[in-house]
Assembly symmetry: C2
Homo-oligomer: 376 residues x 2
């Protein structure tokens, strides 16, 4: 299969309609890393492709569908090789509305208390919700037939990454139990349209509830195996370390391979340092439940945590998708430290402080979010 590379990622930006979208911030041209502001992302429950964050580690392949083949191999009874048409014809289509969130979401707040060099300093922009259509991964796995020893499902994409003198595609894996859950898709549509090149055309994995990195784009190979993927982005990157570990003391064997995402909540309508008028103030944001749960409650404080009020969830919380919340409060002139925190249906809470969860790679920041604003 050919790997066609877009040498100029600006073309990819154009292809996703992200270029010319004033709300999109380009963190890096190569690899292409782009996000809309949290405010922009919160405008619609379903995030348009042009507002959906793009997080890449290598090239952005333009895949020729005529030559595209998806393979399933490793610890299976029968290896499969499918064209896109065969994939669509052989398996029922399934639709799931699910939020994807990058492991590096809200890294900027962690970096503010101790530097995190070499990583993209994302704010709360790396989350988005789409209606994904594709085939259930488990249908494909059942067609291939799993051998008993198969414990992990590894994915490999068609992008090309150069690192430490090697060239390889982005990869990762999820446990077989998760892979057999009905919400895990091989998606070929996003919000009723084919995937844009930057979002994984023609087929990407969508693993609701897991860090975005497991939702491998430009999917080429699925391999059933006993151990997690040995790909750099499973075996080395995307690992969580305790707060006291530093880059120079990290033992890569010890870190925790990331998978499920913890509960999170974000204020979208107000940026730190915002200056607003006294009177009635509308505050809006989103909240994302822990894997497999729903948001139960969102609380907002205007006085740095001394007192809390319940925000209103503006629609029924659903599994796999974020919840939107809003509150309207009367404010007098002065300085306010806003804080937001959420609960989900498993009683999960967010950590109170950044210090307790700081980690040298800057992953999984879900501390109570603090935003200081002024009222005139």
């Amino acid at each position: 299969m050919r790997r066609l590379l877009l040498s100029d990622c600006k073309e990819a930006l154009k292809a996703t309609s992200a270029e010319g979208n004033a709300e999109m911030r380009v963190h890096q041209d190569y690899p292409l890393n782009v996000g809309a502001s949290a405010h922009s992302v919160r405008q619609k429950f379903i995030t348009e492709q042009k507002n959906f964050y793009i997080r890449n580690h290598g090239s952005l392949p333009t895949v020729d569908v005529q030559h595209y083949r998806l393979t399933v191999g490793g610890l299976v009874q029968t290896s499969l090789e499918l064209t896109l048409d065969e994939l669509r014809a052989a398996f029922s289509s399934v639709t799931v509305t699910a939020t994807l969130q990058c492991a590096g979401h809200r890294r900027d707040e962690l970096a503010a208390i101790r530097a995190i060099p070499g990583e993209v300093i994302w704010s709360a922009e790396t989350a988005g919700t789409a209606t994904w259509k594709g085939v259930a991964l488990r249908d494909l796995l059942q067609a291939a037939g799993l051998k008993k020893s198969a414990r992990h499902v590894a994915f490999l994409g068609l992008d090309e990454i150069s690192k430490d003198g090697e060239r390889f595609g982005f990869g990762g894996s999820i446990p077989v139990e998760k892979a057999l859950s009905s919400e895990v898709l091989l998606a070929y549509e996003m919000n009723g349209e084919p995937l844009a090149p930057a979002h994984g055309f023609p087929v990407r994995v969508v693993v609701p509830g897991y860090i975005g990195a497991r939702s491998v784009k430009w999917l080429a190979n699925i391999t059933l195996q006993e151990e997690p993927s040995s790909n750099y982005y499973q075996a080395r990157a995307y690992k969580l370390f305790p707060p006291h570990i530093r880059a120079e003391t990290a033992d890569w064997q010890q870190g925790q391979m990331l998978g499920p995402l913890p509960i999170n909540s974000v204020i979208c309508s107000l940026q730190p340092g915002a200056v607003c008028q006294a009177g009635q103030l509308a505050i809006q944001g989103y909240a994302i439940a822990g894997e497999d749960q729903r948001i139960e409650r969102v609380e907002l404080s205007l006085d740095a945590g001394a007192s809390w009020l319940e925000a209103t969830l503006t629609e029924q919380a659903r599994r796999w998708a974020w919840s939107f919340w809003e509150a309207s409060v009367q404010v007098q002139p002065g300085t306010y430290q806003l804080m937001v925190r959420a609960w989900d249906t498993a009683g999960h809470v967010q950590p109170e402080n950044l210090e307790s969860i700081w980690n040298w790679k800057g992953y999984l920041n879900n501390a109570w979010q603090r935003v200081t604003i002024s009222i005139e």
Copy 2:
């Protein structure tokens, strides 16, 4: 079916071997509520029946097996009625090592900051781990055949509770998705022995990862229904409210029905106020992951959170069972505020402070545990 009541619960204590066990603390004679100290519970990975906490709301039935029948009804294709022998013969036996934990675990710490009247003031004693043997609930449900509208599985026990002029059995429910998970059992054995009367003889539900109250004892009826159980202990008790709600302002329609348990960790080897010798100090405890996860890491602080060290997990963390942890530290004379906190494989953390999770019924306390000790 007859409901035989033990008028004297002391007999039940004897029957569970709890009487004469100096480690067991009787909180209430009727209903019988008994727990061992956290120190005692931590002695063995598998908790002996005589050390396993007992949490009742009504009578303690002595069930005559000759007359025992388990029924499955409601939204099913075929209603079932089974004797104990039929249950054992018709379905394969399944064994799961699982921790049960009461929703009121560590209520004493919440009550210390604001009173919680009318509830049993448990410490960290209401957790225990047993090897449960029985039949998978899902096998029984598949035999009955679920109607499409069945969304909740309600359980009703043979105990008798008097409340507000009514007499009824203890009940509760779990969602169908959880009921169909392989870990949910109808258990008839605990650690290789028949269940003691106080632990639900002849059959109890075991719902790993959920609050203990859903593991209904002396199980008589299983009912498939569209809505959660309307039993007092599902519809009114065991509901979680935000910190600002008080008994007099609580709207029972608003509380969150409890189900999955959040991550927790406990220091077992040292009680608050303990006085120890300077030198090497061994500290031990347990940690319980969020539902469906494993413990990843336990951290201990000796200086009220200024610095943290990683405790050693003394065995491979398993799904559904607690993890034991230990640490050995060098201590000089002085006063130490110990703190413990854990992470699980979904990145769940514990809340830092009691204030953020205080609720007027005293449920789900999983704040970082603080134990102040003196070294001489």
